[in-house]
């Protein structure tokens, strides 16, 4: 045991978005196995809103899919960035464990963490077996994964009576199947690898939705808003979170692939294009085909600029690199389009948000090029977190713009206190923006803090 590990991460810091939002801070941890009968004994106070739980859980699970792919890919070839990839994957796991612990207590989180890490271990072993064409190793790993599935289903079923065992088993089985498919094709079919990664990522958002819904149903007082969490407004938010989050992850992949001259670079770029198509389709679904096409053109320009920047820095021409960097950061047309389509958005603010996104991506690939893999992976995670800020701002504004299409469907009561559908002070858009700001500050502070800590023993 010799590697430094992040004990927490910025993703958990961004969970602060949800936690700050709650009128009351974290409730006392609960014991695993507590059911609806125990819910009445639960401590007073809101832990997190159901919609935020859904978003946070889904995003962490989705990020897990890509980080697992990265760790597998570099692990089987003994890549120089393996330690950093494993560290990022572990940081994501720590975030998941902390989230589970906040609901089911430290023991529950610890148990979940052991199970979760075991499946990562088996997947790594499976990928190594595939790379070495070692059938016995693959069989051993698959047997372990089978045990993991059964154990995690048993854990979840015991923890939450609203999770249907067969459905949970099916979802986890699909996840494991997708991960092993990733290992199967990782070194032989790059397009299939990225297609599977995209499927795995999307599947994790479904898993997050199901798990969050069951948890919210189990603890309605601590996690209110179950109905809202399934409303069209939240579906829009989750869709944009998923697509923009994946854009960040795939951009990282495509940029690093191009920078390192990896054989899968073209496939990564193709997957990024596929994500762009989905994003454009989502825009077109709201604003019409013409707007979707216009968005796609500007969005593609943004992607091409990334790769041109990488080509420029690889060319070693400092002036060309600076020019390419300026081009990457020039997202004025994109922000103009968005602020025109969504009049409530301030153009300068949108431009700054998107520019920060670009700066994350440029900073991570600069670190990657410099061989500072730990920083590269860490900033990559920050880019993923930042994508949520962008998507949430967009989702709020779009839902506000089209309330008939994206009604929020608020619950009849919040925190079990009754009441109607009047907006609470804590849930108005302006308050939300303020909360985002505070959360971003917290995220930054925690980022600085956690990076001074190493070791889990």
């Amino acid at each position: 045991m010799s590697r430094a590990l992040l004990s927490g991460s910025i993703a958990v810091a961004m969970l602060g978005i949800a936690l700050v939002f709650a009128p009351v801070a974290l409730a006392s941890p609960r014991a695993v196995g507590s059911g609806p009968a125990d819910a009445a004994q639960a401590p007073e106070g809101v832990l997190v809103r159901a919609s935020d739980l859904r978003v946070t859980l889904s995003r962490l699970l989705g990020e897990h899919a890509y980080l697992a792919m990265q760790a597998m890919r570099t692990g089987v070839v003994g890549g120089a960035d393996f330690a950093a990839a494993a560290e990022a994957l572990e940081a994501n796991t720590v975030d998941l464990v902390e989230l589970i612990s906040s609901v089911y207590g430290e023991d529950g989180g610890e148990h979940f963490g052991e199970l979760w890490r075991s499946h990562l271990g088996y997947v790594v072993d499976y990928a190594v077996g595939v790379a070495a064409n070692d059938q016995a190793a693959m069989d051993t790993a698959l047997a372990g994964l089978s045990r993991y599935e059964a154990d995690l289903v048993a854990f979840l079923s015991a923890a939450n009576p609203y999770l249907v065992e067969a459905e949970t088993a099916s979802m986890l089985g699909e996840h494991v199947s997708l991960l092993t498919q990733l290992a199967d094709v990782a070194e032989v079919d790059y397009e299939a690898t990225y297609a599977t990664a995209r499927a795995t990522y999307g599947h994790m958002f479904h898993l997050g939705k199901v798990l969050a819904a069951a948890i919210a149903r189990q603890f309605p007082d601590q996690i209110p808003g179950a109905r809202l969490a399934a409303s069209p407004a939240i579906e829009l938010r989750v869709t944009l979170d998923r697509l923009l989050g994946e854009h960040a992850l795939l951009s990282v992949e495509a940029m690093r692939g191009a920078a390192a001259g990896r054989a899968d670079a073209d496939a990564a770029r193709a997957a990024l294009d596929s994500n762009s198509a989905d994003l454009s389709a989502a825009i077109a679904g709201i604003y019409g085909e013409e707007s979707g096409v216009a968005f796609r053109q500007l969005w593609d320009r943004h992607l091409v600029a990334y790769l041109e920047y990488i080509a420029a820095i690889q060319g070693g021409d400092a002036i060309a690199s600076e020019a390419a960097r300026d081009a990457v950061l020039d997202i004025s047309h994109l922000s103009a389009l968005l602020s025109t389509a969504i009049p409530s958005l301030d153009r300068a603010a949108v431009e700054s948000l998107v520019r920060q996104h670009v700066q994350h991506l440029v900073a991570q690939v600069d670190a990657y090029e410099a061989g500072d893999f730990s920083t590269a992976y860490s900033i990559g995670r920050e880019a993923f977190v930042h994508s949520q800020v962008m998507s949430d701002v967009l989702a709020i504004a779009i839902a506000e713009q089209f309330p008939d299409i994206f009604p929020p469907l608020p619950d009849s009561s919040v925190n079990g206190a009754g009441g109607g559908t009047q907006p609470s002070p804590a849930s108005s858009p302006s308050t939300y923006m303020a909360v985002l700001t505070v959360a971003a500050l917290i995220a930054w502070m925690m980022t600085v803090s956690v990076r001074s800590k190493t070791g889990r023993k």
Binding site: R3, F82, L228, S352, S424, T437, G455
Partner: protein
């Protein structure tokens, strides 16, 4: 959030968005400016190379000093409280000290532990490779899953020199019953640490003594046993790895005589209901 939609004028929102932007710019500037930097780490490999690295060269070890009671020198000063224990660094003396055994378990595949020199009872399922603390930073796990059951794993060793140090990180889990935790035996003498809910105990000649320290479940401890065969003595240090300070040290313990057998070290856990013992970073080295 999206839960409720207020009627705040959008210019207010714009101001707030701008505020977000300022904060995020700070984040980006901090990031790009290198204020947030993780220490570089050596790359790790998975699935390649042996996990067990044995250097059977006791003859290479430096000559033993004159007889004297074994003691553990106070090598580790407590680091500042905001720093973790130096678990991620190689032992400070590693480059200069002949390593007789080093076992990290990191490169072993998950599942039943299959590695040269190890044996386990009552069955192979009781001794496994576990993704603890992480999926690639693995440890060995000894499981006693049923009431009153004892699980033991032993590692055969080359002949040991007259002075050597055994070090291992261990973490108990579940509901353990009193019993042996770790022992090392060579040349008909052995040292042993026992666990009980109240305290650890150490063999001391024909008897045993209690140490004023408890090993709590789910916490990693680093156990160090420094043996001096010539003086028939040993010393023990126990460090809580979740805290920076060493929590316990016991010097001047007497090795117990036993039937001469091949050198080996053993770990064991006994369950009251169900219990486990994680073992990691096992080293045997000359002091």
């Amino acid at each position: 959030m999206l839960d409720r939609w207020g009627t705040t004028p959008w210019r207010h929102q714009a101001l707030l968005i701008s505020l977000i932007v300022v904060v995020d710019v700070l984040i980006v500037l901090a990031t790009i400016g290198g204020r947030i930097v993780l220490p570089p780490e050596p790359p790790a490999a998975i699935g390649v190379g042996p996990s067990v690295r044995v250097t059977p060269s006791p003859t290479d070890s430096p000559p033993s000093p004159p007889n004297g009671s074994a003691s553990v020198p106070p090598t580790d000063q407590p680091p500042p409280t905001d720093q973790p224990p130096p678990t991620d660094q190689p032992p400070p003396s590693e480059p200069a000290v002949p390593m007789l055994l080093r076992e990290t378990f990191d490169d072993l595949v998950m599942g039943p532990l299959v590695a040269p020199g190890w044996s386990a009872s009552p069955d192979v399922e009781s001794f496994t490779v576990a993704a603890i603390p992480t999926s690639v930073d693995r440890s060995a796990r000894l499981s006693a899953p049923t009431e009153g059951r004892t699980a033991t794993a032993c590692r055969g060793l080359q002949d040991l020199p007259d002075r050597y140090t055994l070090q291992a990180d261990v973490r108990l889990s579940g509901d353990a019953a009193p019993g042996m935790l770790m022992a090392i035996e060579a040349a008909g003498r052995h040292a042993q640490i026992d666990w009980s809910r109240e305290s650890v105990r150490f063999l001391d000649g024909a008897g045993s003594v209690a140490g004023d320290v408890r090993l709590e479940p789910d916490i990693w401890y680093r156990l160090s046993v420094q043996v001096d065969v010539d003086s028939a003595s040993y010393a023990v240090a126990i460090q809580d790895l979740s805290r920076p300070a060493r929590v316990f040290q016991e010097d001047g313990l007497t090795l117990r005589d036993s039937a001469p057998e091949a050198a080996r070290l053993c770990f064991s856990v006994r369950s009251r209901t169900t219990a486990g013992l994680n073992i990691d970073d096992v080293t045997v080295a000359t002091p």
